[in-house]
Symmetry: C2
Subunit: 356 residues, 2 copies
């Protein structure tokens, strides 16, 4: 007689929401069913709100279209992008959970080199629940991973690490390239047999990185207010820089607050490259502007008084308006939207002991 199976509750089942910007195919959730079904989904339907998104049976989800966002946020809805995957940050705002995992609907379950399905969510949770080491580089990478540790010469006082705010996962098959690189290298692929890097690491303090929103986990309580995807898409002069903007902002805020950003595992399978010609049109302002934006972020500093992600983000909005507006008037509008975002954050996420 078989022994009764004790059901194992998946990690962080009641503390994590999965946020998905639009779902164009039923296959997506069917493929992820073994991993996602225990969790709550927040689906942000982008574009035409009269269309219907079908969600397969058995999933626990909320679905919001543009009409819902406008109704729920009122005038503050103007900080949420339309016709761009940046709309996903509405899900970050209204979640009530401690952790978020966000993934694009063209990302499927990848296989590790042994052919086993990769449980991306489980790896993000491991990354988020173990500390980061931003103050000194460990040459064997994440020292908290099983089978490894801090190497000789790593200061003992730094081995406790700091809380991890972000877990940035990577992509097999189609790498996340910009339009010019897509055009030049249309056939380049990341395959699990030759480009699978079995590693997680902390991005050192002081170093910026290109954060991709396709496969991203974060601690919403620690850093949520700094993960705003900006004004992109419909009515804006720029697109495909939503996650980059969030990444630049969140890294300088994490560095100031002493929080960690990890990158590496888990991989997802990125199924298809978007059209490089369309992408070029969306990106070209960003490609040009980032040459000034990056030095700005490399020199950002926060006053001692900024102790929370909100406080840092408001301070950052001021510096954006002051130091980037000469590039384009868009940055004035973006700086205002950053403030609106924080106002909305505080409205939907009141501090536990705040009174109305």
């Amino acid at each position: 007689m078989a022994l009764p199976v004790t059901p194992i509750s998946p990690p962080l089942k009641d503390e994590l929401d999965i946020v998905i910007p639009t779902i164009r195919s039923l296959d997506f959730l069917e493929m992820w069913r073994p991993f996602f079904q225990p969790y709550h989904l927040i689906i942000i339907q982008d574009g035409d709100p009269t269309k219907t998104i079908r969600v397969p049976d058995g999933f626990d989800y909320e679905l919001y279209n543009r009409n819902d966002i406008n109704r729920i946020m009122g005038p503050k809805a103007n900080c949420i992008s339309f016709k761009d995957s940046a709309c996903r940050c509405f899900g970050f705002l209204i979640s009530k959970k401690k952790y978020i995992f966000t993934i694009d609907d063209d990302c499927f379950v990848a296989k590790d080199p042994s052919g086993k399905d990769i449980n991306a969510l489980e790896q993000h949770i491991k990354n988020l629940l173990t500390p980061s080491t931003p103050f000194f580089f460990n040459t064997l990478y994440d020292p908290y991973r099983e089978g490894t540790d801090f190497v000789r010469g790593y200061p003992f006082s730094l081995r406790e690490g700091v809380p991890t705010a972000i877990s940035h996962g990577l992509w097999l098959n189609i790498p996340d390239y910009d339009a010019p690189t897509q055009l030049v290298k249309p056939l380049e692929r990341n395959t699990s047999s030759c480009r699978y890097v079995d590693m997680v690491m902390t991005i050192p303090k002081g170093s910026l990185f290109p954060m991709c929103g396709m496969n991203l986990g974060f601690n919403r309580e620690l850093i949520g207010p700094a993960i705003y995807f900006g004004l992109m898409g419909d009515g804006q002069p720029i697109s495909r820089y939503d996650d980059m903007w969030a990444g630049w902002c969140v890294k300088v805020v994490c560095d100031h607050l002493g929080l960690g950003v990890k990158t590496g595992l888990p991989y997802i399978w990125h199924s298809k490259a978007s059209n490089p010609f369309v992408n070029l049109k969306k990106e070209y302002s960003g490609i040009y502007w980032q040459e000034e934006i990056i030095p700005f972020f490399q020199s950002v500093s926060f006053p001692e008084e900024c102790k929370t992600a909100q406080e840092c983000y408001i301070e950052l909005s001021k510096q954006v308006k002051e130091k980037l507006v000469h590039i384009d008037p868009y940055f004035e509008k973006l700086g205002d939207a950053m403030v609106t975002w924080i106002e909305a954050w505080d409205e939907f996420n009141p501090a536990p002991n705040a009174t109305a």
Copy 2:
């Protein structure tokens, strides 16, 4: 009929020396023969100079013992450590080549996960001959490696990279742990099936790392004067921090000069762990001192006028004497030795157009 084989000259054959601090077994060179035989070896015999080191036939080498070092350097020989693998830096000093690869004699040829012998030297050369990217993190790691590139959001103005000064390789089998970790985890091993990370990356600007001297390549012309292994072993209060010291110094100098430091591949097979009890005795001052040394290096800055590795290193020696001597009088002696080292460097490596 077989076609005649065209002999292929190995890369950098006439531009690279292999420096080995002592050789205790003939097996070492026999195992590396297919890879090392085309190159010139500089062997620094540590300890008793009356003993004889046997080198198998067919290798092109110079061998120096302590008597040779004293004769060649005169009074300046006091900056070269005795009874410690730090003596290897004498080889860096007297080499006339552009590149150095240094390796310990307990490091053997490792196998990659497919079972193939790893040509460590070839990978170091690849690392050194391609640029580094210290100013912005690339989430797909070394963008110059075949099959990969810069990801979306990487500033185009930074894609040229900077010259690579250091290639820091890793170890399978016995990881490079300090004595306390060795004592706590005596059985931990890096195996090619589970801890092989197929990756090279640039350590970002501003981040220090624990540089291990077991498996290390560098561009001697660019950074040689900053790779001094300090005063260790016989007559000194500290040991097993020779490579760490060099690593801290070289990283701040590289950051100032805009040079790159890569880590990751290649792996060697580290055959045996040294005795953790002996190591603890050698390390304990360093373990304690590094808690103050690291913050010192994290705050080091150089004046604009320091344009060469020598100039940076002399400036660093002043700061060491000024800011570390309160830890122990040893740092006064070390600061003096750093100056002697640079004097010796300039003596043995006169600038091309310098007159005597």
